[in-house]
Amino acid sequence: MLALDNIGKTYPNGVHALDGIELRVDLGEIVAVLGGSGCGKSTLLRLIAGLDRPDPGRVTLDGTDMNGPHEKIGVVFQEPRLLPWLSVAQNVGFGLRGKRLAERRRLIEDALQRVGLADKADVWPRELSGGQAQRVSIARALVTRPEVLLLDEPFSALDAFTRIDLQDHLLHVWAQTHPRPTLIVVTHDIDEAIVLADRIVIMRPHPGRVQAEIAVDLDRPRDRAAHAFEELRRQVMAVLDQSLIHRLD
């Protein structure tokens, strides 16, 4: 279980980005973090990823304190962040260490296959479309079999079709992985949150706090046009409005 205890963060420039965040996420759970721009979502993810230190508070995974990046936690950034001087396969294998070449190859092939890009193994990143590049970065994050995968607006730069496609893809990959990893997905997109998550955490800004948590009890695969989906969308919208009212105070 991933646990955030009383997490806060104040940047050196005085911006109070997060305050008193409490969150428990079980192994295999999918949590969406939803909130307006600047409410500290990326900051929260960076703290969990170990790229920044919380102050105060602590992050623990299965009871162990996280100090800095950890092999059990993978990250998919908003941009693919592929290394342009490595082939797609080499990018996917970037984080694999201490494995025999044959074993590495097998894992990379497997990861690329899972994101449907087995045929792109030997091309340069510059030869990929934006959606393909993001899939490669998902493969890179998954190949090390992290327990927790953090995704910071992973699909926000993509068009609506590709986005929906990749959401389904991510769920597929998640369902195919054993044991299933925990996913924490930061997003601006209400539909994306409802499609993906078991639970939606809604944040409000100044400083960033948790406004509400909404459980999503819909069967997968979820029909974006279903009545229950629509109902949930309305509910989330109402809470988001609340968080905006807070901001205007």
Binding site: V75, F77, R81, W85, Q90, G93, R126
Partner: protein
């Protein structure tokens, strides 16, 4: 199903220069022909600016006696030694100041102050320190090569994308791994460019160095040609400089291409 090779992708072979080369030769060859014809027709005696045939004759004569090769090798040796020293020092200093803020605060102000000095101004001092022979010449060339390499590498390291460095941090790369797997490849294109400008300056400074008293070298041929009133020899030496400069630069560029094929710049899309 492809066999995931973990090898670098293949890139199409480099295109042959083709029609671009012919087009580029049009102007110099045309001018040379016109000049040749003008001198042949008696429009100019060609004494101060000899026609191409005379220059070619001089080059050929110098080549046959072996003098051209001797002078060219002497110059090449100086450029090589000065370039090697300058690159080594510039790389170490640039890597230190680019990587470490402390080193940058410590070294950069002094180096920037030294850079403000026109390098030729060192000549008298170098002659006093290192004598009139090879050492002072090589030192001057090394100084010329040092600064572009230093500045280029320092700036390149500093501007490595934080986002890509974070990928390295996520995978918990150690310091040396970060340098080897992220920083080095990321700065390589800019580093190669700085090496090439360093080499260009090396060729510039070897001329100055050989002006300050040399008994051999292409620069000596220049001075000798001036003192004995032999413009064809001067132009011949200039041409030799141009050819050697171009060859060494192309070698450097060629040696670096296998490492830079991934580049996604303007040049790879023409």
């Amino acid at each position: 199903m492809t066999d995931t090779s973990l090898a670098a992708p293949r890139t199409a072979a480099r295109r042959f220069p083709g029609p671009g080369l012919a087009l580029g030769l049009l102007l110099p060859l045309g001018l040379a022909l016109i000049w040749e014809a003008a001198v042949a027709a008696g429009l100019n005696n060609g004494r101060l600016f000899p026609p191409p045939s005379v220059i070619a004759g001089t080059l050929w004569a110098l080549w046959q006696t072996g003098a051209l090769a001797d002078h060219a090798l002497a110059t090449l040796g100086r450029v090589g030694a000065g370039f090697g020293l300058g690159v080594a020092a510039g790389t170490v200093a640039g890597a230190l100041t680019g990587y470490s803020l402390l080193a940058s605060r410590l070294l950069d102000p002094s180096l920037q102050a030294l850079r403000a000095i026109p390098s030729i101004a060192w000549v008298p001092l170098f002659i006093l320190w290192f004598g009139i022979f090879e050492a002072s010449k090589i030192a001057l060339i090394a100084v010329g090569v040092f600064f572009p390499v230093y500045l280029g590498l320092m700036a390149a390291i500093r501007s490595v994308d934080r986002k890509i460095v974070e990928v390295g941090r996520i995978y918990r790369l150690s310091g040396p791994e970060m340098v080897w797997r992220i920083l080095l490849p990321a700065v390589l294109p800019a580093y190669v460019t700085s090496l090439r400008s360093g080499l260009g300056l090396g060729w510039m400074f070897v001329v100055a160095a050989e002006f300050m008293g040399a008994s051999e070298g292409l620069g000596y041929l220049l001075v000798d040609g001036q003192q004995l009133g032999k413009p064809a020899q001067i132009v011949a030496a200039i041409i030799a400089f141009a050819i050697l400069g171009k060859i060494t630069d192309s070698l450097l560029a060629w040696a670096s291409t296998p490492f830079l094929r991934w580049e996604d710049g303007f040049a790879n899309h023409r």
